[in-house]
Symmetry: C2
Subunit: 200 residues, 2 copies
DNA sequence: TAAGTTCTAGATAGATCGCTCTAGTGAGAG
DNA sequence: CTCTCACTAGAGCGATCTATCTAGAACTTA
């Protein structure tokens, strides 16, 4: 069994993802984590805010690896993007439209209400964009084009999650994937650099 | 002064937009609306859920008109899309990154927790997509292409709002606008139909 | 005027919120 | 063995949550 601290973080991340920050209670967290209430304030003396900030970072940062899995290691940039959106759609359906972005709900909740938590979400998004820019720039795109495409990928995924979860349909995710793919083709065609994988 | 019911709806919409559903208390609502607590349950006997559902619809549906303003009445589809994203960015900056989508935060909060409220958000998004599809199809796009572009517009806006509010920057909104514009050009170029505005 | 309806007004209930507090447990160090 | 300290355990605090309740004001209609 994982350590108490780990169980608290994991349980909080799961509850934040589904119920958001204000929708998640501390009693609910320790209940799901099977942890004593006192342990929560032992590990997170700053209370809910400290726990929230650490969960945002610990749950969010690992998702940057998806850029490596889907984009950086793909033979074709456009195909990699399409597979990323398809994979997101599969996860969404498998979890009954519950597990999408780990921090999006919290990010919107705290954007105008708590600057400390907002900064935590901003750090995660910036980390994703940095990894995404790196992944995209290996295909011969300029730094600016790679960052633009990374932003397009993340924003389209986030927005598609909003609509797909609300409509309970992967149609928004499909349309968003096609849109980012179009942008990738456009940026590749105007790129002066050579594609990394013109032929394996 | 607006009617008590109207003041309650307006105040709730403003609070939902910034603080979300669970982050908004009924006392807070009647306080801002300058309405007696009893009136809230007089007009909304179903309590917070009924109020929430009606606010989602009443606050969300009018935004469909933005498709008419920015897209349907534009001379050029791509330019209209770019102006829509630029306008969203201006609003965001003017309101200190607070006023973005009126229902996005609530939509994510309730997607997996309350099916009645989820359906209310789904109705609003579908209404937007219907208006958006109508607006895009006047430029000679097929029904499928017009709907794909409408979805791309809404999802990109929603996702860009998430990142822009978190990062406190319009960069995501700019990149998202360029992405949807690229998709519009692609769909227009492969469209068999004739553009509505090839020349005034 | 009288009766009836709509809306205002807010006290209050019962549950839950984040958080603090004290007490106890258990493993490793000296 | 004893001391120490990290951790467990949960009762309970004041505040706030949604919701209910009664009472009265204001307006409409007979």
């Amino acid at each position: 069994m994982a350590s108490t601290r780990e169980r608290i973080v994991t349980a909080t991340a799961e509850l934040f993802r589904r119920n958001g920050y204000t929708g998640t209670g501390l009693k609910q967290i320790v209940g799901r984590a099977e942890a004593p209430f006192g342990s929560l304030y032992h590990f997170f003396p700053g209370g809910k805010k400290q726990l929230g900030a650490e969960v945002i970072r610990e749950a969010g940062l690992p998702y940057a690896a998806l850029f490596d899995i889907y984009i950086a290691s793909a033979d074709d940039l456009v195909a990699g993007i399409e597979q990323a959106f398809a994979g997101a759609g599969e996860t969404l359906v498998e979890t009954d439209y519950a597990d999408a972005c780990p921090i999006a709900t919290v990010a919107l909740e705290v954007a105008s209400t708590d600057d400390g938590l907002r900064r935590a979400t901003a750090e995660v998004f910036e980390a994703w964009l940095a990894t995404g820019t790196e992944a995209c720039s290996t295909f011969g795109l300029s730094r600016e084009a790679a960052r633009a495409l990374a932003i397009a990928t993340v924003t389209s995924l986030e927005g598609a999650f909003v609509l797909s979860r609300s409509l309970r349909s992967t149609e928004p995710l499909d349309a968003a994937g096609a849109t980012v793919a179009a942008r990738a083709r456009e940026l590749l065609s105007t790129s002066a650099g050579s594609a990394r994988h013109p032929r394996g």
